[in-house]
Amino acid sequence: MATGSQVQLEGVVPETRSAPPSATTHRVSQHTVEIVSDSGEGAQKCGQIFGSVSAKMGNGVWTVEIIPAEVQPPPRSAPGASGNRIRIGAQPVTNWGDASDLMIAFNEQVLLGRHQLGALAPNAIVLVDDQWKTHDDERIRAQWQAAMAELGQTGYRLIEVPLEAECLKAGDNARKGKNMFALGLLAWIYDRDLERIREEIAFAFRKKSEEVYQKNVALLELGVAWARQHLDFRFEVPPLPTPEPRLVMNGNQAIAMGAVAAGLELAAMYPITPATSVSHQLGEMCEKFGGVVHQAEDEIAAAGVAIGAGWAGKVAFTITSGTGLALKTEFLGLAVMTETPLVVVDVQRGGPSTGLPTKVEQSDLLTSLYGAPGDAPKIVLAPATIEECFHAMITARRLAETFRAVVMVLTDANLATGVQPFRRPELDPEWLGTALDLSGVPAGLQPYDWDPQTGLSKRFIPGMPGGMHTATGLAHTRASKVAYDTESNQLGMTMRSRKLAVLQSMLQPPAVHGAERGDLLVVGWGSTRGAIEEAVDRARAEGLKVSSTHLTFLSPLQPGLKQVFARFRKVMTVEINYSDDVGDPYITGESRRYGQLAWLLRAHTLVDVDCWTRVLGEPMRPGAILQTIRANVKGGAA
């Protein structure tokens, strides 16, 4: 998105309900919609269908879930807001944007909650269920009054919608159907294809009865009719031509699909948000392929099971998040030491400790690199988009086998729940790897016959005659014999480390987004790519000499970083993890703790890399990055 501008609303007419207004259609390049309710009222389903239909109609789409931390938060509570934010565009949308331009809220409390979080654009249009205004309970009426008074101070255009009352026309349980009515409102406002919506409804309720489907469609149509009669605005977000077939799914689904495409037949896991839905997805489909999702007794066991499978010749993966990764570290060290191929997906969430279970952070980078006792070099890569989540699994499996290595795939809560259309991959049988070959081991070969140049060696897999040996987490020789002598340990360490250098020699320097030289280079990794690049585009449109680069490989780091950095006056990372801000009490150049990528890049390149990081429990907003860019280009070194 080049501009990310807010929409100007022309011709706003005063509220009248008597005669149908003639609606003005505003043509916009992108628009962000939010639908929020108490949990269990179906706002998420409404948002998902809206996002999916928009993608099918050719719009760029990015959907994020708005999830309360509790399963059943008290109704009508500000922190209990549950739903979706859907940003649609005339071009591919790469991130959730800055704020919502339009919102449908099922009660004024969830609306207030989102307002207080700064989720709404200053001139947002808000449609809110008005049933609370005249509710039997006096306390609720008072809450409504207070909330609406507060919201009246803003620049929002507040429109009261008789959501409940209208829904009652289609049946006696309005609570169950409001989401479909809301979908009808959105369908009219954005002129969505009703036939496609009906298909989605049929798909969503396929396991229920025809009657349920009919009722939902009736509610949808009531919503459309109400909007047509009462709303004086519509938005047109022109679709983009999409020649190639696309898929639309979230990052966790893409990880699951990628795992199958990569030939990974065993996912060992223990439930932890936001990683769990990968196993839900796999659980549903894995068995069709003969694969297994093993819910272990804990994260440690999950890692152990995956290692056992990998050592026995069937590379497996384990998937976790936050505290679960901490539990696995001992096993990761063992996999490194025994050179057992293993893929670990870490869907990062807020830490430390239980932290922010449902929210995004990028704070496991250093743990992934260094969070095992001793020196345990691992391969660490971070997909930046949903599409890359799919392909990362294929890369990871291949690297794990080729390098007899642990490959960490770092995604995060933003990718896990974000939904985005992407090019449908053409499946390549080579992705599956080769079938287990248990031919005998030629005499004289050893289980760790490290090539002195590359550190690479051939795996001996149980079942191979002549390959019998005992893999061990103790220091060992080429023959896998326990060895406490000085030379063997030094050699083993050197060989395991060498593999990363070999991999680095095969990688490309990262591409630069924007000009090859300038005043400021923003460096990012993982899910922030879309937001960073959008901010850079906006800054460049303002004339600022800023570019960005995004790292896929964090270990080994891609080559040539120092040369890329040298072409910019200043280099700064943008990350969703904690760093001190210089100028805060006690925080000086010397005491400051840096963001994790900045820390790594400083050590790696000896360039004075600065950082701007935030841990707000939400994805980066391009507007916030833009402000930082402005401050750092105009103000020089901060």
Partner: protein
């Protein structure tokens, strides 16, 4: 290429394995350590059963006992303290064709790895799990373990261990889906061998607690039982272990039908006599790897299926 053309034998079936085919590095346990006799019983068993060395796997944790795989000329995985079982489960889940043994110490299995132990019993995968129980932490030099007898002194509890010892047999019998539970002693080689064999032949998770002397740190603990056969009671049954050669020395014998779980639990209660034999055995218990074994789709068929899944997300 076939295995044997590489190894220079005509066909696989013609290979005959000798005891020496299972012997790897010379064991480094202390002289008199009970682990030695467990190792030789195991090597004898493998030779008797003619298990192919390349198809046999020993997984262990960390401890003196966990050095076991290094001394077997099979495949071995010497992993983390307490974590042998998950690794073994991963091997078995994806490679059911392999014969998998698990060797653990008492600290390994009943302390740091207790969670995995409990769940391994319930998974009931076809593994033969051996608890080499010397009632002490050997490798780390004399610390109290959960199975250390109450009052026994160690480096960490110099005034004697405070709590009653945990009984691994009762604990195992208490877990849902237990399928084979036996106890034997390393100083009775014929009983040890017969028990290992029964455990190996059992389909499912066979748990064998082997009382093991550590002459360095617990020289006294099993001494009374070693010297005085009267302190031992053998559980005998055609479905368990029967050893006529022991009849004369071990006259306390109790016929116990291993299908009787209630009786097994009662017999496991601590008493005056050490009970050796098969406490419980039921091959009809569900095995996790069988429940999870599905026909695997490969290559084209797999991708056709995956494409169907992707269709659901097609725009």
């Amino acid at each position: 290429m076939s295995t044997c053309s590489l190894l220079g034998c005509a066909t696989e079936d013609e290979r005959v394995f000798q005891l020496s085919d299972y012997e790897a590095a010379l064991p480094r346990w202390c002289p008199g350590c009970g682990d030695h006799s467990i190792l030789s019983a195991m090597q004898r068993l493998l030779a008797a059963e003619q298990l192919k060395p390349e198809q046999t796997v020993f997984v262990s944790g960390i401890g003196c006992s966990s050095r076991f795989p290094h001394y077997m000329k099979t495949y071995g995985f010497h992993g983390l303290h307490g974590r042998a079982l998950p690794v073994a489960e991963g091997v078995k889940l994806q490679r059911p064709d392999l014969t998998v043994f698990v060797v653990m110490g008492d600290g390994d299995c009943t302390s740091i790895g207790a969670g995995h132990w409990l769940h391994a019993i319930r998974y009931n995968m076809d593994l033969t799990a051996l608890l080499l129980d010397n009632n002490i932490y050997g490798l780390t030099k004399n610390q109290t373990s959960p199975t250390t007898p109450q009052g026994h002194t160690s480096n960490t509890q110099p005034y004697g261990s405070y709590l009653p010892a945990l009984d691994p047999i009762s604990a195992t019998l208490g877990v849902t889906n237990a399928s084979f539970v036996a106890q034997t002693a390393e100083w009775l080689p014929s009983h040890l061998y017969a028990t290992l064999r029964a455990a190996y032949l059992h389909q499912g998770f066979s748990f064998v607690r082997i009382l093991q002397r550590c002459p360095v740190y617990t020289p006294d603990i099993f001494q009374l039982a070693v010297r005085d056969p009267n302190r031992i009671e053998l559980l005998v049954h055609d479905d368990g272990v029967v050893l006529p050669d022991l009849d004369r020395t071990y006259q306390n014998q109790l016929v116990h039908d291993p299908s009787d779980l209630d009786e097994a639990r009662r017999l496991a209660e601590p008493g005056d006599r050490l009970r050796l034999g098969v406490f419980f055995r039921d091959e009809k218990r569900p095995r996790y790897e069988d429940l999870r074994r599905l026909p695997k789709l490969m290559g084209e068929a797999k991708f056709a299926r995956l494409n169907e899944e992707l269709d659901k997300y097609a725009v």
